[in-house]
Symmetry: C2
């Protein structure tokens, strides 16, 4: 389970994702770039509040902003999400083992039924 992972960066990514509002902003940006004003509207938040969330996402590298356009539209950068997925996938054998154990148990129960043993 060793990987070349930037731990500090991952700290920042996970912290940025620990907010349903920020995750909703990312979901909105997956549909296309948007200005801060456009983002503020559906979330019924003040501009300063939404700006604060966007700054957290920007620091984590999840959002990039246009440099020259007047309204500096926000765009999603999904690269850190690929890192999150890669990190979590390390544990797939662990969560799959859970299901395997459950399968084994159910097979075991079925076998016992077949040979006429009591269930309990």
């Amino acid at each position: 389970m060793t990987m070349a992972i930037d731990e500090d960066r991952l700290d920042e990514t996970f912290a940025a994702l620990a907010s349903s509002t920020r995750r909703a902003i990312l979901a909105r940006l997956a549909a296309g770039a948007a200005t801060v004003n456009e983002l503020a509207e559906p979330f019924e938040m003040t501009l300063p509040a939404i700006s604060k969330h966007i700054k957290v996402l920007e620091r984590a590298g999840l959002v990039t902003r246009g440099r020259r356009a007047q309204y500096r539209p926000c765009a999603l950068d999904a690269a850190p999400l690929e890192e999150v997925s890669t990190w979590a996938e390390q544990y797939r054998p662990v969560w799959e083992a859970r299901f395997d154990r459950m399968d084994d148990y159910l097979t075991h129960l079925r076998q016992r039924r077949k040979v006429g043993q009591p269930d309990a």
Copy 2:
């Protein structure tokens, strides 16, 4: 990109994962259950400090503890990590599109070379 996801639970999972120490504890527990004393040693942390981290992981459902055993060994529960993976995988088309665009660009450059156009 809609999924049946418990947003509050995901908030807690991501917050718990936003610490390289807590992620290292999970990696250690993936190798097998361990007592708080056993966990404290490799991390060179005091027992209260490691206990605090374990409580955060427990609240997030990432660690379960034996109820009856004297030292209440900690065990990994990878179920929330599967949710993290599922959540992040929603964005796979976005990060893959990045690479597709890069591929297209490189193909475009190669095509221009072939027909003898200048690169710049």
